[in-house]
Symmetry: C2
Subunit: 459 residues, 2 copies
């Protein structure tokens, strides 16, 4: 008997869940709101014929499941360009620094000591978190009751080190340090191995790229599935009875034994549930907003910064584009810089015209790389806040108080509904790796339900 | 020419908006998800024939619009029972204290000095807030970047005074002090005149009750309207074109010139908008969750506590019922106590059985009032977290960082969509008074649109 499972969302978590469920003998159908697979992974072809990634793009460090998938599908990895110096832009000046992991910029020694001390303290606290239950930590209530910003103000002394930490928050969470709990910050760091791993290219989260783009992983999994994928159908309602679940769009419905919802919590909360969600699950979805990010690719006729001995990587104290990387594809004579407008920078810029954003971006790039940055071929932007089926990016962050009050309800099944998506992962939460792992977890969860548990789930 | 306006939600804000719009010559239709008017105001009749309020119930202080409505509709006000002593339950002991505004309990003098100092500091800071623009305050970023809990830990020294402040947070916001921004706390205090006003019966927010219940205000306004009210219809989609707006349920649709959405932000975000909401308005709805509260009425054959010289009012350091009031109707020989399970207490208790909640409630009441509390006639509870069209109560609170990043988008119209609801009010935000005022504000907003502005709204 092949039980039918519906998976909502054809991103990495949904596709992985589908794949693992098929391996276990289930009959799977996938329903996707967009006209494509990949969710927050998306590649486009520019006018100048470059395949560019406008969503999540890097893998690295111990993201083992992503590496396995790339190997399995014969996708070629190549290292993020990391030769030469990185730029730290501070007080209106370019400071060049090494690009190796753990490189230290030439800053005032007081700042360096302050930063080093803060980083070490954070790493140590992060390693003490139980990733499956962050709320059991003896200090969980205190850490969850304050934002990262509060910790910064209290524990970092120099203006520059404080500003640096705030940029870290923006770069990693697409949110201000004020916007999420310090416990969430620590959880996220350990979830991604370490803060240094999250921030690094060398042996870090930005280590590798996939030739042709990360969306291919989703495309390859989709091709390997027996499952039908229904596109262009936003799910509006999920109804459960004792024996089955019915998934509705505005015009159609489908029946199954169980359903996997892979949407980020804030979007999962927008579906109508009959019977309604348990109180705490619903309230959880009210409390994990999505970050704010606009991703910008600028194409040049060559990667001119490389000749100047630069990696193309920037961490800047001045916005709206504070984070830049070399985003040149593996084989191309052209050069590409990718920049991010994040958190308050993104929130301000989302209301501008494209022309204003382009001008602001170029102004930033000129400050970092000189007048050559004006001589671009194409400017391509993607505002994830405006994306109907994401309404923000990269992922969800936990407000103060949420982990300790609602953490247990992050992926506790509700009768025949199971929850996946990178926001539910204990390992590499918020990253592609977390999405894949959440898909594996939910498939195991469903696969392990015994006939007896079936009964208890139904009640 | 009578332009047609659709109002979504037949609570106090929607009904007030409808009424004011009709006065201005608009043709109004109201669409309500529930089978009744009143929203978070609801009265029921108990088995023992008592009319009981299971939602918002008190008015007082300078809530002028509510007083005017009661007068206009001939609703009789009566004072909340406030004769005798209040109970402060602390360290397992009952401490009796005066019930007049500003009464001081007999506590350790260090605690009293600490509390007094903290209250005065908070009041002073609150009075410096610009209610229409809390984000313009010189300290807005700092205050918005931290939770009330952080302020408590840093600025209050004695354990008892800290605990007291946390109970204040629970009682006023149905949320933990960790759950919302300190700037929001200050805004809310000034919005409701002062912290002392929010907490008081005498000249405070709990001063008066309405004979027969607050829901009558909504019923009376509804009766006075020409507008049709469509019940039992949850709105699922709002579509705008240049010239009109269409409001959809799962089975019907209605057209109008403009629409007023009165739902709390977290529920407003669950409607599908075509064209989609502006990025910052959508992200705002992701960041104002609703509080957590279970309201409990316990009926006795007489108000026995009165004979013991007690008001029935309790502030307790031990949950799950930390806040109690005498809730006896104006004319009845029976006695009623109302208690609240709020914030984490409510979140824990929502997963219990009714039997467990009843036992826990009685256990609390026995601690406060003695064994007589066991001799009840009826136990009646209302869990607002489980209420499909509220998903929490009393109202929404702003997470850290939200006022400063998103405050401007709280009620900025989106083309033909206008926003009301108590969460959008600058005065008495979160209260019935705020709901009424938001209805007035939105009607004025629509009434003042000139033909020229019409054009700019459309673009």
């Amino acid at each position: 008997m092949k039980e039918k499972i519906i998976v909502i969302g054809a991103g990495l978590s949904g596709l992985t869940a589908a794949r693992e469920l098929e391996r276990k003998g289930f009959d799977v159908q996938i329903i996707e709101a967009r006209d494509r697979v990949g969710g927050r992974n998306e590649a486009i072809v520019s006018k100048s014929k470059l395949k560019l990634e406008i969503g999540g793009q890097w893998i690295g460090a111990n993201q083992t499941e992503m590496f396995k998938l790339c190997e399995e599908f014969g996708l070629q990895l190549y290292p993020t360009y990391n030769e030469g110096k990185n730029i730290l832009f501070i007080n209106g000046k370019v400071i060049k620094m090494g690009s190796q992991r753990g490189a230290i910029p030439k800053l005032n020694p007081f700042v360096l000591v302050d930063l080093d001390r803060a980083m070490k303290r954070v790493e140590k606290m992060a390693q003490s978190i139980n990733l499956k239950k962050p709320w059991v930590h003896p200090k969980a209530k205190e850490w969850d009751g304050m934002s990262l910003e509060v910790w910064i103000r209290k524990n970092i002394y120099t203006k520059t080190a404080k500003a640096y930490f705030r940029i870290v928050a923006e770069a990693v969470f697409s949110a201000e340090a004020s916007d999420f709990s310090f416990l969430h910050f620590l959880f996220y760091i350990k979830s991604g191995e370490s803060l240094e791993t999250l921030l690094s290219v060398e042996k870090g989260a930005q280590e590798y790229r996939i030739d042709g783009g990360t969306q291919q992983v989703s495309q390859k999994i989709a091709e390997s599935l027996a499952a039908e994928i229904v596109y262009n159908v936003p799910v509006t309602k999920i109804e459960q009875t004792e024996n089955e679940v019915t998934v509705y769009s505005n015009t159609q419905y489908w029946k199954a034994a169980r359903v996997v919802v892979t949407l980020p919590p804030t979007l999962a909360g927008r579906i109508t549930y009959v019977p309604q969600l348990p109180a705490l699950r619903d309230q959880l979805t009210q409390r994990i907003p999505t970050g704010s990010v606009i991703k910008i690719n600028v194409i040049y006729k060559e990667p001119f910064w490389r000749k100047d001995g630069l990696t193309g990587q920037v961490a800047s104290f001045e916005g709206p584009v504070k984070v830049v990387f070399d985003n040149t594809p593996l084989i191309s004579s052209l050069g590409v810089l990718v920049g991010f407008m994040e958190a308050n920078d993104g929130r301000t810029a989302t209301e501008w015209s494209e022309k204003q954003r382009k001008e602001a971006t170029l102004k930033c790039l000129v400050k970092y790389f000189g007048e050559q940055a004006l001589d671009y071929i194409e400017y391509i932007e993607k505002d994830w806040m405006k994306e109907d089926f994401s309404r923000g990016g990269y992922g969800g962050h936990f407000n103060t108080g949420v982990w300790t009050a609602y953490g247990e309800h992050l992926y506790q099944p509700f009768k025949r509904i199971h929850w996946a998506g990178t926001e539910t992962s204990d390992i590499w939460n918020g990253y592609m790796e977390g999405a894949v792992r959440s898909g594996q977890r939910v498939a195991n969860e469903i696969g392990m339900i015994t006939p007896q548990e079936q009964l208890s789930f139904q009640s």
